[in-house]
């Protein structure tokens, strides 16, 4: 009886070991997808240039098949009385802030997904519904999503929104950097419509260089900080401003990638499945020893 059990035990261990090996290869594959292109794109938002015309809001809705209304409706500046956030009805919004240096030139700040270099949503998503493309954009796949909303918990910029009013197939809504348009060789809708070119579309490394030049050239105009250059490991969207970013409602974030600690823990626990298997073996061992004791006692 005892021998029989020991054989079963070893057999099972073997099977689990093989499955674990298969699992661990698939986890290493997941890490490879974070290889980013050297030429990855981004957008530099110069908040000192933005005039708050909100044309980008309209263009974004048009392109994403959201009810947009007419462009003229966006001339209404009373919306600036409240601070708004991107949500399931608008993937980007512009907020207006007072300018301490010149009350007549308020600061307008467009908000949308920052398209992090190491996105928390991609790391957190239970079913891999998010993709960080080597070109920069972070997109979401409706076919996989189960609507758990963990991405919304994880996002350090508080961007993904959820269609709470939909009973069936509610979507996670966030800026997709017009990935489809970019594949067709077009610009993101907001960049294309911006009358001021406050949204500068280009390669991320060029944009950082341009931003540095701007700061150097006009040190009175800009604070010496490119938001998104290093925040949470860097983002595709970068911001310049004339005042501290915390005054423009940006969260104060460190330079560590948002998923860093979590992934360290996860990969620690699951380092090639060694810790769980060891625990299994250990428990098995203890059980085996104790079992023998009680058996002899029983007999």
């Amino acid at each position: 009886m005892a021998a029989q059990n020991r054989r079963d035990f070893l057999k099972t261990m073997g099977i689990i070991g093989v499955t674990a090996a298969g699992f661990s290869t698939s986890t290493t594959k997941a890490q490879e997808k974070f290889k980013l292109s050297e030429d990855r794109i981004g957008v530099l938002v110069d908040t000192t240039v933005c005039i708050g015309c909100r044309n980008c809001e309209w263009a974004c809705k048009k392109v994403h098949d959201l009810p947009a209304g007419s462009l003229e409706e966006y001339n209404d500046r009373s919306v600036f009385e409240n601070k708004r956030r991107p949500d399931e009805h608008a993937l980007t919004v512009v907020n207006e802030f007072e300018n301490p240096d010149n009350v007549l030139l308020p600061v307008d700040v467009k908000v949308q997904c920052m398209h992090c270099e190491e996105p928390a949503c991609v790391s957190a998503c239970i079913v891999n519904a998010y993709t960080k493309h080597p070109e920069g954009p972070v997109t979401w796949d409706s076919d996989k999503c189960i609507g758990c909303r963990y991405c919304m918990v994880a996002c350090p910029w508080q961007i993904p929104a959820f269609e709470y009013d939909k009973a069936i197939q509610p979507n996670i809504m966030k800026c997709d950097f017009c990935y489809d348009r970019q594949q067709e060789g077009k610009l993101p809708a907001c960049v294309e419509i911006c009358p001021e070119e406050a949204l500068i579309f280009g390669k991320r490394r060029d944009l950082i260089e341009i931003a540095r030049q701007k700061i150097k050239r006009e040190p009175d105009r800009y604070v010496d900080h490119i938001l998104g250059e290093n925040e949470v490991g860097g983002t595709s969207w970068l911001y310049l401003a004339g005042q501290n970013f915390s005054k423009l409602d940006f969260p104060k974030l460190g330079t560590d990638p948002a998923p860093g600690v979590t992934e360290k823990i996860q990969h620690g626990i699951f380092a090639y499945f060694i810790p769980p298997i060891s625990l299994y073996a250990l428990l098995g061992g203890i059980m085996w020893i104790n079992r023998g004791k009680s058996k002899s006692k029983e007999v």
Binding site: N5, A124, V127, I146, E163, K252, L279, Y280
Partner: protein, 415 residues
């Protein structure tokens, strides 16, 4: 020492009491709200919004559900791995609680998921870096393991007693042989599932803590720490036995049985050191990260933290060290209840109180619907527990007959 094991269906009590009626009403109430949720979407009846994506369905149904069902794996470790024979009497009730608890977790997740019909997606779309994926897979597997562990109780109840009427009568023999086959098969392989159950529990109890680590600065520093997974695991281990004590005492009272005070105070004796370890880590973490400075501010977070630690950890810890408490049915109950409350608060704090997202237009408080559904699920849980203990051999009744020891407690006392 002479211990006996004779789990049997509790037959003496009437099923429909006034309390049971109330529970049934609560369940019906929950289903009314669930209808709204499934026809109108989550927004129709919850207070969730884009700033607060997770509410009590995750904090209570899932996080607390998982933590409070920890009795299943701690008792299994005690009874099967360390092989303390004297505690085998609690194994079946603990298993049942765990099984129902995890079912409750699954139900909670199911209603909370925006696309509940895709709940199986994690099985095919894997993301190794997601702690939620790990929790999901572990919980799914563990629920299966728990059900498998429960099968012997079913086989014990029905082997030789399958007696379907009418046209199904012809199936009786087949079902009976199936049950016998299962019983035999499981007898040999049960240890695999028992160990797997413990490993899976360790993994997902801790990963449940990892869940909130990624929220980073959105979480109050009193709770946000890289050792959250360890704290979650330690607190889960610590709450396992108090939960068993808590529920044994309630069940005993409700079902009119005499509680196994010897066993329960034995469990209670282990609690002091266990809570001590948990408290030491929590305190050490606070000292190392210097987060005690936040205790000087008086706000919801700091008050909740103090309540959680003082009422939920320090007081019960002190109580469990006292012989008087361990031997008193009432005080043991109080100490256990406080520990359970402490962990319950800890999970709520971690998932709701500590979570203060930027840009929140309003703070989150659960809606009537959310509370109704959670309460209704708990009521359903209690009802199912009652139904099962009254029909299956789960609770050991004080029996004059002494029965020989069994191979596995899980297999039951049948020979």
């Amino acid at each position: 020492m002479e211990y006996y094991m004779n789990p049997a269906p509790v037959k003496k009590v009437k099923f429909l009491t006034r309390g049971v009626m109330i529970l049934i009403l609560l369940v019906i109430n929950a289903f009314v709200f669930l209808a709204i949720r499934f026809f109108g979407g989550l927004g129709a009846m919850t207070n969730l919004d884009n700033q607060h994506p997770w509410g009590i369905w995750i904090a209570i149904d899932v996080a607390c559900g998982v933590a409070l069902a920890a009795g299943g794996f701690t008792s299994a470790a005690l009874g099967h791995i360390i092989h303390k024979e004297e505690y085998k009497v609690i194994l079946r009730p603990a298993l049942l609680t765990a099984m129902l608890g995890y079912t409750f977790v699954a139900l909670g997740v199911f209603v909370d998921l925006g696309r509940y019909y895709f709940i199986w997606h994690p099985l095919i779309y894997w993301n190794g870096s997601s702690p939620l994926f790990e929790v999901g897979i572990c919980v799914m597997t563990y629920v299966t393991v728990l059900y498998i562990e429960f099968i012997p109780i079913v086989t014990e109840r029905f082997i030789g007693k399958v007696n379907l009427k009418g046209i199904f009568a012809s199936l009786n023999k087949m079902i009976d042989s199936l049950l016998r086959f299962l019983d035999r098969g499981l007898a040999k392989t049960m240890f695999i599932f028992i160990i797997a159950g413990i490993v899976l529990s360790t993994l997902h109890q801790s990963s449940l803590g990892t869940l909130m680590v990624i929220a980073g600065p959105k979480m109050h520093p009193l709770w946000q720490t890289p050792i959250l997974p360890l704290l979650f695991l330690l607190s889960a281990i610590a709450v396992g036995f108090p939960m068993i004590i808590f529920e044994s005492l309630i069940a005993a009272r409700s079902l009119g049985l005499k509680p196994e005070m010897k066993v329960l105070s034995g469990l209670g004796r282990m609690m002091g050191p266990m809570l001590g370890i948990y408290f030491a880590f929590k305190l050490g973490d606070m000292l190392i990260r210097g987060t005690f400075v936040y205790l000087t501010e008086v706000n919801t977070q700091s008050i909740m933290f103090v309540i959680e630690v003082v009422v939920g950890v320090i007081i019960p810890m002190r109580m469990f060290f006292s012989e008087k408490v361990l031997n008193s049915r009432l005080w043991l109950f109080v100490a256990s209840a406080l520990t359970v409350l402490g962990v319950f608060l800890n999970r709520i704090n971690n998932f709701l109180v500590a979570y203060s997202p930027p840009y929140a237009f309003k703070s989150y408080f659960p809606s009537v619907g959310e509370i109704s559904v959670t309460v209704g699920f708990i009521a359903l849980l209690v009802l199912l527990y009652r139904v099962i203990v009254m029909n299956f051999p789960v609770i050991s009744l004080p029996d004059k007959k002494k029965l020989p020891m069994v191979k596995y407690a899980i297999k039951g006392g049948e020979q």
